[in-house]
Amino acid sequence: MLFNSVEFLIFFPVVLVLFYLIPHRFRWVLLLVSSYYFYMGWNPAYASLLFLTTTVDFFVANRMEAFAEKKQRRPWLLLSIFFNLGLLMYFKYYNFFVDNINGLSGSEMRYMEFLLPVGISFYTFQEMGYVIDVYRGEIRAERHWGKFAVFVAYFPQLVAGPIERAKNLMHQLKSKVVFSYHNFSLGGQHIIWGLFKKVVIADNLAVIVDSVYSDSANFSWLWLLLATYLFAIQIYCDFSGYSDIAIGAARMMGVELMVNFRTPYFSKSIREFWSRWHISLSTWFRDYLYIPLGGNRLTQTRTTINLMLVFVISGFWHGAAWTFIIWGALHAIYLLAELVISKFSWWKNYMKTRKGITHWLGIFLVFHLVLLGWIFFRSDSVSQAWQVLQDICSMKTYEGTLPIELRRVGDTGIWIKVLFALALMLIDPLMNKIVRGEYHRLNYPVKLTLYSFLIAAIVLFGFWGDVAFIYFQF
């Protein structure tokens, strides 16, 4: 079930009403049933996978707690990690490995024909985080299977995050929630803003980006550049839009999910970018992989290896393709370069600036470094990404006719979409403050008018149809 679908428009209010009508002690049942119903909207069979991982990790965590020593807990931890990663490898990466083995050895291993279970990368990581926390003794294992299952399958963030920590989410799910106007108001604001970013901005831009990238050889460098810029905005609006809707939906049920984006394109360094983009994933990798590997506390070589490893794995997490691996490696290289220059005093001064030309030049530069990565992220193959890069750099011209999708949109339509996208990027920092309730200068009538405009725009300009969120494929 998509957030931007009529089904969700019916499903969510029904769940919400029932949530506040039934007594607190039965709410976990409602959340569990509705979460599985939500998930089964894609493929009912994959709910069994969700059930299986939940049960295994529930059992493992409880077994671990029976032992006081980490040494005794370790086999159970390894069991859980192998199981979760095994599933992920099988369902997400099997065909990638077969493809590469066949390509290298000339063998003809058979591909598996199945659809990737939606959200598998998200919920397996959330569960692994939980098991590791129990192993470290940072949290107690949940004794109630049903409540643990709600933590894993909680529908607002099940399929595309934020990847929550048990420390943050579990106790909130158990707390008694009473109706609060404040929660409804903030939740509603998040949902409206998230939906606007998704259906008005991201899905409208997707028409241009998809047309260009599906046939990139037949476009001039200007089109390729425009499509790449627009993809940067599209993926941000798509993913942060999803996160906002998830945060808003949870908030209406009294749960505060972690913030996943903080205007990342206004970052002055790549390091800062990663502290503002997909925060739940980058902090997951930091806490459960980078720091255990030694982080930057060891030698320069080890730090280099650690960073490279974490970002390549992060890229691979996004998708089973070399394009994602290169995207991850590229960001690791950026960070390593930053590590080197961060020792200079001018860098420290630069990072302190909050205005002026240096400040904006830094943001401009970082945005374009990120943009370079997006070319690999968006391309279907490394060769396509390379071709796009070459065509942009050589300012390739192309005189052919535009594809039917773009001709339908028309020149004016394209400009309108571009203007909407630019306007969004400009108002995004302020809107983020408003939806989080951190900006208090707007009075009630102005706020009401603002959100009414957003609702009208969603209905009027929304690219309605069966358009899934980009991160569902991960």
Binding site: N204, T412, F463
Partner: protein, 334 residues
């Protein structure tokens, strides 16, 4: 709770006002000779084109012998002039990507005649797969009356159709925003191009939309109950083994619709519902009978139409069903 209800109502009211204002403004402000709504609102279609010409030609047409219903396969595949040469009075009501829901609504409103014509429903598998929004939005802009336009919104609720309907109310529909050069008459458009070179292979499996088979069933039942003969035709497509598989799986779904008439007493024995699957007819040449990978050209249409007319005649499918279930063979009598 009271505050939440008040805020929600106010929010909804202001949003409605803003929506109407924006819709009105976008439909009344032009940029480069085009109303802005067409550029800003996704899926919105222009007024004019084949649909507008077809409706202005046919809405007042009375008592034809044959009515063709369907998508572009219909309006590019059945030439009234050829039928006329064979002394058959035919009209072509096809519109772009017309799905069976739209066919059902339009037939009830415009194409039901006392003459009990034979209805040829062109079934093009792809139309049963699409989301149907292109068809609905085009028709909503161009259908002469508000009622069928509104039915298209309510029968298959979708914000895109709703926006199209609102735009219909706001814009000046007397202005034709685009024209078709290949329109001939009585709904028919001809195409003389020839498919050259390779055409893309079909790589999709057929996954039809249940609702469109349901509406096809409703349409056939309606026409049957009015006493007309219904002939389903799947017209020739370029020979292709992938398309053959695709078409076979479509036929399985279609058979479920046809089976209804057996169980409900409208049996094939009385031959009131007949299906001609000519999709992979070997008589049609990829090189010279098609204008593109999906449509016949004028040469192909002539070949196809004569073949179809011959078949309709030989199987006695022209003319109304008499009370006792036999057929008055209008064309053969001539």
């Amino acid at each position: 709770m009271k505050r939440l209800v008040t805020t929600s109502i106010l929010l909804a009211l202001i949003a409605v006002l803003m929506y109407i204002s924006m819709m009105y403004a976008l439909n009344h402000i032009s940029f480069r000779g085009k109303r802005l709504a067409l550029s800003a609102i996704p899926y919105l279609q222009r007024t004019g084109g084949q649909e507008e010409k077809m409706f202005s030609d046919l809405v007042s047409y009375s008592n034809p012998e044959i009515v063709v219903i369907g998508s572009s396969h219909a309006y590019r595949g059945y030439d009234p002039r050829i039928f006329q040469l064979e002394e058959l009075d035919m009209i072509n009501t096809g519109t772009s990507s017309q799905h069976s829901l739209a066919s059902y609504i339009l037939t009830r409103k415009y194409w039901n005649y006392e003459s009990k014509p034979t209805y040829i429903i062109d079934v093009y598998p792809q139309v049963f797969m699409d989301d149907g929004i292109e068809c609905s939005t085009r028709l909503i802009q161009n259908v002469p009356d508000h009622n069928p336009a509104w039915s298209l919104v309510t029968e298959d609720p979708d914000l895109r159709s709703f926006n199209a309907y609102m735009a219909r109310l706001c814009c000046d529909r007397t202005i034709s925003e685009f024209s078709v050069e290949d329109y001939v008459s009585r709904g028919y458009c001809s195409d003389n191009d020839t498919l050259q070179g390779m055409f893309p292979a079909v790589d999709s499996t057929f996954v039809g939309q249940h609702k469109y088979f349901d509406y096809l069933h409703r349409l056939i039942t309606y026409l049957e109950s009015e006493g007309s003969i219904v002939v389903l035709v799947n017209q020739p497509m370029p020979i292709n083994s992938d398309y053959q598989k695709f078409n076979d799986s479509f036929n399985k779904d279609l058979q479920r619709v046809l089976d209804h008439y057996k169980s409900e007493g409208f049996s094939h024995d009385r031959r009131k519902v007949v299906y001609f699957d000519m999709a992979q007819d070997v008589d049609f040449d990829v090189c010279c009978d098609f204008s593109d990978p999906k449509h016949l050209n004028q040469g192909g249409v002539e070949k196809f139409n004569y073949k179809l007319i011959g078949r309709l005649r030989s199987e006695g499918l022209l003319g109304p069903v008499s009370v006792d279930g036999s057929f008055s063979m209008l064309s053969l009598k001539r």
